[in-house]
Symmetry: C2
Subunit: 404 residues, 2 copies
């Protein structure tokens, strides 16, 4: 049994995106090489919703919610019926399999809220959970919080596209050795890798065979770049007995300030998630739920333009990193880059702090995503294009200042 | 170690306020005595924010938050700095002891969110937690979810006011036998009892002596009726080493649709709560946080009027219940009544379901608040006065139809 102290050490948030303000300057001045680098500060730890503003009409939808009054303030814990009904329809179309608004869908406070509920509903002391490395940092923290056991499964993402994907042999071995839950994101956070159709089918088949619950985080699945194909696990022929799919409008749609997400899948798990929601925060903020009416219902052409603009930034930033000789996989979807930096004279966390202090550039250290990814950093490139390109230039300068 | 199945059975939400829509009609028709009772349906499971609308300017504050943009969408997990600074000042004044905005305060998704984080930060497998009976239903469920052990402590609330309060002997005995955490609400939910100054001082002293962490839920402490005095535990001379005070604007201020709450107290616990928030839902919705600028800053006279109006409804409803011969303590604060019903020919849960089906009146069964309180029901009387009085009349009629 993990003690409270260990538990909270394991979920330390000091390097989590957005929490950098709490870090002390410490001894950075004595470690600093050269002068501060001028330039507009850029916070790559999350997207810039001023550069890419929320979906048109989103705030008006929230206002509609407020004007409905009590009925919208106090929805069922799983969310307002009418909103669920409309959403279920659109999510069914998007993922290729109908969703029951009644029994298979819950509205949550953000995608983070959905992940918390899904893992809380399936993981307890000593539950073995397969976790991809690298993957979204909260996955590992959640497993630790619920006192589960992490079974790491490596992701290949730096090779040729045909070789990329999760190590399926390792995954099968984990399933054979008592793994009960598998949680992963596709598009992968932090690399932008989209799991191939054959990977997804293999996962579905293995999970069905070994009775493993699958929690798939598809947060970025709408921002898919030219020529890429997305496979929804829930529409595969073979189906795991227990499957939860998670999405939300916080990223591509820039609606993070409303804290909205959804989870859909196996009714028994959705029931548990609602029970847990009842003691965690009751429901996603009632008025905000109404904003989901704008989701998958954006003005014609709006989503295409947003994707095109992100693709242009992606290409520009990849060019800078590659010209500098830093290996960086091409994200197939989403707005994360995960470049690998050369050996440096300071440790990775110190470099990340120097980058912020000396160059005004905030990135997330690779160790948040996998213990062995200290040589990489994650950038969310949903930013003002010019400021971001300039900031990436400063990263390159900083690496050259601190190169071993 | 509790299994996932037991855990989720323990946190069953089917009788929780607001979830009644999910109940099946079942065999109610065969049990029904007499005809359906006409009248405007009233849902006493929560306050009616149409009858008592949100604080003036609250939605405009949310709009300001949206217009600030990215900075407000992505606050620190513990909430936006400026909002915390202003709030800390006002909460310090209200409770009689300064609050540090930096280290002692976290903004949460509702008071429920604050309770979840506080118990998650202090309770793990086998932690003994003293819980008052009756008290807010989520307290017991949270302890179960975190696999702690409930140590029940009775509350006297039906006697003369000098005899009312927690059983301090039982509390001390619990503290002596290894209780690590004590969670309670004052004003008490569901009875409206305000803990006396001497009770609060005794609790502070006992907790300090036995090194028990105290979590005090003061959600309703602003709605204090004529002649009543409120004592803030955090301003007592003796101080427990670890103390968290919880409040929020969901009730008196009718801001529940925004999901906002706060917890303030011991920095080490606030740190843990923020770490947990980082994996639960990141933060209270960013734009919504701005609504807290209106809290403790209502227009002059607004709060006094709201309290006066509630006091009038309280008195009217007490009169009806007492004329019918149902014992009911006088709430000193808040908007809950907890009348005790006579023996009935159907079990309490069935009666509550019949009440909803036959008379259009929704109340919360007493068993949600204590296993032994099946003969009582809870009503939130923050309702339209005329509809509420009529609905209470229907409760009396229903009791007479089903009286043993």
């Amino acid at each position: 049994m993990i003690s409270l102290e260990e538990k909270f050490r394991a979920i330390g948030a000091e390097n989590a995106p957005g929490q950098e303000a709490q870090q002390e300057i410490g001894d950075l001045n004595s470690l600093m090489r050269g002068e501060k680098l001028e330039g507009i500060p850029v916070d790559f730890s999350h997207g810039d919703v001023d550069a890419f503003p929320p979906t048109p009409g989103s705030f008006e939808a929230c206002k509609d919610g407020f004007e409905i009054g009590g009925q919208q303030a106090y929805t069922e814990y799983r969310g307002a019926v009418q909103i669920r009904e409309d959403l279920a329809e659109r999510l069914g179309t998007f993922t290729g399999l109908p969703v029951s608004a009644d029994s298979e869908l819950i509205i949550t406070p953000g995608t983070q809220g959905a992940l918390f509920l899904a893992l809380g509903a399936t993981v307890t002391s000593e539950t073995k959970v397969a976790v991809i490395e690298p993957d979204y940092f909260a996955n590992r923290k959640l497993v630790k919080f619920f006192d589960g056991e992490i079974v790491p499964v490596p992701l290949n993402y730096q090779g040729a596209s045909s070789e990329n994907g999760p190590d399926l042999n390792r995954l099968e071995a984990a399933f054979k050795r008592g793994t009960k839950v598998f949680v992963f994101s596709t598009p992968n956070n932090p690399t932008g890798l989209v799991y191939s159709g054959s990977s997804i089918e293999a996962i579905a088949e293995l999970a069905a065979r070994h009775k493993v619950t699958v929690i798939v985080d598809q947060l970025y699945s709408r921002m898919l770049y030219s020529g890429e194909v997305y496979t929804h696990l829930r529409a595969c022929d073979k189906q795991p007995e227990n499957l939860i799919t998670i999405m939300g409008p916080s990223k591509t749609e820039s609606l993070s300030g409303f804290r909205l997400g959804v989870a859909f899948g196996t009714p028994g798990l959705i029931d548990r998630m609602e029970r847990l929601q009842a003691i965690v925060s009751l429901r996603a903020a009632g008025y905000n739920q109404k904003v989901l009416d704008t989701w998958f219902a954006e003005p014609s052409g709006w989503m295409e333009k947003r994707i095109r603009e992100h693709e242009a930034i992606r290409d520009e930033m990849l060019k800078i990193f590659r010209a500098a000789g830093f290996p960086c996989a091409t994200p197939q979807a989403g707005s994360y880059l995960f470049p690998q930096l050369p050996h440096l004279v300071v440790d990775p966390h110190t470099f990340v702090r120097l980058l912020r202090y000396q160059a005004g550039v905030t990135v997330t250290p690779g160790t948040e995503f996998a213990p062995g990814s200290g040589d990489s950093v994650r950038l969310n490139f949903s930013q003002d294009r010019i400021a971001a390109a300039d900031a990436v230039g400063r990263i390159v300068k900083m690496v050259n200042l601190y190169r071993k």
